[in-house]
Homo-oligomer: 149 residues x 2
DNA sequence: ATAAACCCTTGAGCTAACTCCAGAGTCAAG
DNA sequence: CTTGACTCTGGAGTTAGCTCAAGGGTTTAT
């Protein structure tokens, strides 16, 4: 199996495959006489493993670690694997929290502004960014009654 | 006000301030005879604006756009500002969704594995990554009864 | 007057995960 | 036997947001 075949099967680019090789994730098990990379069925499955791990959020570094276990399963325990999954879950939960904080802050800004076609000179969003006074939900004024806009 | 004063007030690094200048976000309004950057009160407030925008998730590019409005408020409308906020909210919501998909997939993997101190040769997480069969919640086996572990 | 603390510019390096390019070699079909 | 599709290597470039280092000039305190 040549690199192009692999690429067609998995929908990644040739450059990506070669990049994964440089990253020690996937080394072809053989080379043709002309120097072409030749991939075995096992190599093919290894790529599947990598792409699935990627699809649940693991970084290439983390995938490298998972592959170390995969390559030598008998020397590792279930807990080693589960720990990696749980660690990743924690990481992602933290990222979600930060984004949710962003989202809530933005929602407050959003509520404070009528969004009308009126000069931005008194826009509550800009004011909040200038002065840093947290825009409270109570300050929201319905579009029709917004004094400023 | 010299760069060091600004830095102390805002808790960012000197390099960061100079980087923001290179990025056209914050230019000191004057220079001393010796060539030192001198920041006015308005410059100081501008930095506050930048840092607040950053704290709700805006990228430097997006902050640059917000500052264009801020610099010329009368030529813009409330809707221009609100649109930027809402656009950012959409962006962040998408990021959260992706991370939640990751999280759920990881949670399924996590549930499938007992996490015991037993060889990883039969670990359900690795199997799932190898074979790509989605690990269903029903397949979960309580720790005490896990046949494999 | 001199040392410490501060500031200057230029330019490189960092992380992550690719992506692209040039220039060359290989292989399969007609 | 030639054309076109495929592949090779090596190295540079991309994005975002800094961060650091070298080699110097400026201010301030003693």
């Amino acid at each position: 199996m040549k690199i192009g075949d692999l690429v067609k099967q998995h929908g990644v680019s040739v450059d990506t495959i070669r990049f994964y090789e440089k990253q020690q994730l996937l080394t072809p098990s053989a080379r043709s006489e002309g120097g072409y990379r030749l991939y075995s069925h096992a190599d093919n499955q290894r790529l599947s493993f990598i792409l699935r791990a990627k699809s649940v959020g693991f970084s290439l570094q983390q995938i490298r670690e998972l592959l170390q276990i995969e390559d030598n399963k008998s020397q590792w325990q279930c807990s080693d694997v589960k720990d990696k999954v749980q660690h990743k879950m924690t990481e992602i939960a933290e990222q979600i929290s930060e984004l949710q904080r962003f989202y809530q802050a933005l929602a407050q800004l959003d509520q404070a502004c009528c969004g009308g076609s009126v000069s931005a000179t008194e826009c509550s969003i800009l004011t909040a960014l200038e002065q840093g006074q947290p825009v409270l939900a109570e300050q929201h004024i319905p579009k029709q009654e917004c004094a400023k806009c």
